[in-house]
Symmetry: D2
Subunit: 86 residues, 4 copies
């Protein structure tokens, strides 16, 4: 039981706890590396003259199917017209 | 100094600490009440037949001035055309 | 029906739409004012020498009941002990 | 220049635009896969009997160095004592 710690009537398998935590930490590190890569691609696109805000919107829109997107845009255009937003 | 607590060579004015915390808690409660009110208005608008997603977009767009908004939309339309997104 | 706008076979009551939007915008403004007030109280507390990070933690902890909080702290202490975090 | 699209006096290199967007989309997909993996490890830890909330706190605390963490805990304990939070 050298690997077990008892306190307030609870026992925890220290080795198993550490293994879970280290697995999560490694995955979080990988996730951060990819997040940094994404940031770099946006920076590169910006350096080439692209508008990153519009890029983000395009990427968000591409996640929807065409019919869904067109319907959303139709409703939005209707509301804009009603409010005189040209 | 009955109102002071000392520990690890630090002293804290308990009354003053409590006063700050209670002021913040009261304000957070008021903020939550307003957040609930906003939710209720959206629910009411939805009940009347409005699309809440489009309402949110309209509210976001109205925070920008017209020239800024039109320029953003022009860039977005340009990108959509380039990608064949109709 | 001067107040109605029709497009893509849909009709929207412009006056009603505008009323909902303006109600939400007013509430959002109030909410922002309170958010700014909260920020000001934290700044004032900081100016008096309080640690704002600890204040935030205290406020978060006060939302839980004592038994719940004590149980969470007991589990956390157990894990810390298992990992040798003193 | 079959690959260029002109509108509102702006030109955009469609191929380059598409390449940037597809690179970002691939990276976002990889990031999502890792986020799902992290979720799975937490679920596995929970299935083994660990408290995921405490795991998250431990992971957050491990990002700080020991001195920083101990100082934060000392301040927090001081405030808790001042407020009678045991």
């Amino acid at each position: 039981m050298a690997d077990e710690i008892t306190e307030t009537s609870q026992t925890v398998a220290a080795g198993q706890l550490r293994a879970f935590i280290e697995r999560i930490e490694r995955l979080e590190e990988e996730k951060q590396t990819i997040a940094d890569d994404i940031k770099d691609v946006f920076a590169e696109a910006k350096g080439t003259g692209f508008d990153t805000k519009a890029l983000r919107t395009i990427i968000r829109l591409r996640k929807k199917d065409q019919a869904e997107r067109q319907e959303e845009e139709a409703i939005l255009d209707l509301y804009k017209a009603a409010l005189g937003m040209e």
